[in-house]
């Protein structure tokens, strides 16, 4: 067992930290969030130049042959910076799906473009009725000649407003919640019959509701084997969860540090409020939640390659942990910052909002407690 980072990993972390320090302070971030597009494509190019977008992919596809530890490092630092650009969606989730399920042609077509920052992807897996069940799909792709015709609606597709292509889960057979009969398709967002409603999300990102009306797909749009996509989607989502946990840890650590600093300087009743034992113990609990969350984040990122039951247990336990910890740390950071914590002006509330939304992403605490219990 080994919990140390390689020199390359440390360099990677330093370069992400430096980028955020130089380009992504809170005011800059807020400007991005309030801009028309809601992201900064120049930053995306910079990520490509720093090699972040290439980190997990094989060298033959323009990657650096890194793994979950590398994306974990990026996500933790992105969490610290509240980065809104769709790294999780494009690189970890969609990149992961292509990497796992794609044909050689799809991989060599798409992965280098992701790595180079030329292709942004979003994954349309959720549906309005489906809640967190990845198999609860009404969207259908009917065979038509060599290809398919896609109909359905997808919910809260994070990052979709910026995406060039979507990876869409749809039924090619089976009933609404069957585990079999699910397929993945790579769909051009500009294709006929695709309509979107874009909106900002509460945590400063962007998402879309997407409708597919008789969208014509050719056979090459199919990603992986027809009807057998669920295990692949679950594995990719678990990898995304591992990244999301790291992001949450980044958020929690910023909040905990900021709260400790604030309580050391903020005076009430003639002394720093950090002198009050109740607040001290509250901050100790925040600190412990950070540490436990970090432990679980390491754990899940190191276990993604184990067999399915182990991977599911790792991902769901980690997600449940960071959901619980994130709620506590976020709420207490706001509470201990008092009125200031409530304002839009201070960064604290924005980390809190992001942590709140992280809990609902890919399934909340309850969902993952049950998934963990079922796999145990």
């Amino acid at each position: 067992m080994d919990f140390s980072f390689t020199e390359e990993q440390t360099l990677l972390r330093n370069s992400v930290q430096r980028f955020i320090q130089d380009n992504y302070d809170f005011d800059s971030r807020q400007k991005i969030v309030h801009s028309d597009s809601g992201w900064n494509p120049d930053h995306w190019k910079a990520f490509a130049e720093l090699g972040l977008l290439a980190a997990p992919f094989d060298e033959q596809y323009g990657g650096f042959s890194g793994g979950p530890v590398e994306t974990m490092i990026v996500m933790e630092e992105f969490g610290r910076g509240l980065v809104v650009e769709p790294y999780l969606q494009t690189v970890i989730l969609c990149g992961g799906l292509i990497n796992m399920a794609g044909s050689e042609k799809q991989k060599s077509d798409l992965l280098p473009k992701i790595a180079g920052g030329e292709l942004v992807l979003a994954c349309a897996y959720a549906e309005p009725q489906g809640r967190y069940n990845l198999a609860d799909l009404l969207t259908r792709a009917e065979k038509s000649g060599d290809g398919y015709v896609l109909n359905g609606q997808k919910a809260v597709v994070v990052g979709a407003p910026w995406a060039d292509k979507l990876i869409v889960s749809a039924r090619t057979s089976g009933d609404q919640r069957n585990k079999d009969g699910i397929s993945l398709f790579i769909v051009d967002k500009a294709a006929d019959g695709v309509s979107t409603r874009d909106y900002p999300t509460v945590d400063g990102q962007r998402a879309s509701e997407i409708k597919f009306e008789n969208v014509k797909l050719d056979a090459a749009a199919l990603l992986g084997a027809e009807g057998a996509a669920l295990p692949v989607l679950e594995a990719a989502v678990d990898a995304a969860i591992a990244g999301l946990c790291a992001e949450a840890v980044g958020c929690m650590r910023v909040l905990t540090d900021a709260t400790v600093e604030y309580c050391k300087t903020r005076k009430q009743f003639g002394q720093p409020i950090g002198n009050f034992q109740v607040l001290q113990h509250r901050m100790v609990d925040m600190f412990m939640e950070c540490e436990q969350s970090l432990s679980m984040t390491y754990m899940v990122n190191l276990k993604l390659d184990e067999d399915e039951a182990e991977r599911v247990k790792a991902a769901s336990s980690a997600k449940a942990q960071i959901g619980k910890s994130g709620r506590f740390v976020g709420q207490q950071a706001v509470q201990l910052h008092g009125g200031m914590g409530m304002t839009d002006e201070l960064n604290v509330g924005h980390y809190f909002k992001r942590l709140t939304m992280i809990d609902s992403q890919f399934g909340n605490v309850d969902y993952h407690l049950r998934r963990f219990a079922a796999a145990s």
Partner: protein
């Protein structure tokens, strides 16, 4: 001991219910305090209907327009208002400044201000908190210097709710800086149109504009607008802080919110089954309902003790703590029930297109509401301060 309503009380309940059904302004239906699109006129429309009926301030002394209701009647009244989801009026005039005026004010102040408050002619805001003061109210630094018949006021107030609508502000100012913090404070009534007052919005993290920072620069306030003695303002403010705790638990509103939560959970499908039947979610709702039930009976006990002639005691800090905890947990569960549809954000940012709606209607705005409710454990004396009060005043620690 008895929980039954008398026939008279049942008749009263029906009267309140009928009144609301007949008179509640149609344009207010489904809208809640703090909603971004509520105008001053919206609030006043309901205020005036209640004033006309004589029910806008039932807890006031009879001579100023109050009602001699029993604690049970007050309980019934509040319950019915919440049950019908009536808009809650702002407390600054009716609940907060009025008692100070009738208790410590001069006759001419009572004669002038109380009817105007009653009839909604002045919108009041509260100038207590200052930037940097937080829960330590007495550390305020806004200065008022005597200049003939006026005070010249300089300083800043913050977290001033709905000051954007205000005609008047009741305000704590320091008139003597050379004594210990609780001394040397005076209580002024300030016309918001006086030159030198700037109201600057504070946007909260839910995107809403409820609170403001107020800057006072050489603001001339007539000495006649001081309530009570110079330098004794802290005493009056403390009385005010202890006054009228009856609504503090928010039981009736929380019942309505739980009904809303249950409706959302019943309409949300999870694996084809309503979320309301999910063991985890139904358990959380049940636990919350039980906590609210306990709060309701503690509230009733405090109410009974108050109407038996015991003043509002430090026990009412329980109502603040438990009440806000319940309110916060309800909004937490609303967000949980909304699932992915807690994400779309509706306030203060522009949207493109409206070709189809974003998620179920009941889910809309749940997250901002959750964020906004975090304030309740901070303001009005943070819940930590409330626990300090109980420790000291009740447990003698």
């Amino acid at each position: 001991m008895d929980l039954q309503f008398t026939p008279e009380e049942i008749a009263f309940r029906d009267e309140v219910r009928d009144f609301i059904a007949a008179k509640y302004p149609a344009q207010l239906k489904g809208r809640r305090r703090g909603d971004a699109d509520l105008t001053k006129q919206d609030y006043l429309s309901w205020h005036k209907v209640l004033a006309e009926k004589g029910w806008v301030a039932p807890s006031w002394p009879l001579e100023y327009g109050g009602q001699d209701w029993t604690s049970t009647q007050k309980y019934i009244f509040n319950n019915e208002m919440a049950r019908a989801e009536c808009l809650q009026l702002m407390p600054f005039g009716l609940v907060m400044v009025a008692p100070v005026i009738w208790t410590f004010g001069r006759q001419d102040q009572k004669d002038y201000f109380l009817p105007r408050i009653y009839n909604g002619e002045d919108w009041w805001c509260q100038g207590y908190s200052e930037p940097g003061a937080g829960s330590d109210l007495a550390s305020l630094t806004t200065r008022a210097v005597r200049d003939g018949d006026h005070y010249i006021v300089n300083g800043s107030k913050t977290w001033t709710t709905m000051a954007q609508f205000a005609d008047m502000m009741f305000c704590l100012v320091r008139t003597d800086p050379d004594v210990k913090p609780q001394k040397g404070i005076s209580f002024l009534l300030i016309d918001m149109k006086t030159p030198g007052i700037t109201v600057q919005p504070i946007i909260t993290m839910d995107g809403g504009h409820e609170v403001n920072q107020i800057f006072l620069e050489d603001v001339r306030v007539p000495v006649a607008n001081r309530v009570g003695e110079e330098n004794e303002g802290w005493t009056y403010a403390k009385v005010l802080l202890g006054h009228e705790r009856s609504g503090i638990a928010g039981v009736a509103r929380s019942k309505q919110q739980i009904a809303r939560l249950k409706a959302l959970a019943a309409d949300t499908s999870q694996n084809g089954v309503p979320l309301s039947e999910d063991p985890d979610f139904s358990r959380k709702i049940a636990a919350l309902e039980i906590d609210l039930l306990a709060l309701e009976y503690t509230d009733l006990r405090v109410l009974a003790s108050e109407s038996a002639g015991n003043g509002p005691g430090p026990e009412s800090s329980i109502l603040k703590i438990k009440g806000t905890e319940v309110q916060q947990r309800i909004t937490e569960l609303l967000v949980e029930a909304a699932g992915y549809y807690g994400n779309p954000y509706l306030r203060g940012m522009s949207y493109e297109g409206d070709n189809f709606p974003i998620g179920p209607e009941e889910a809309v705005g749940t997250a901002p509401e959750y964020f906004n409710m975090r304030k309740t454990s901070i303001y009005g004396g943070s819940n930590e301060i409330q626990r300090n009060i109980i420790a000291k005043a009740v447990l003698g620690l």
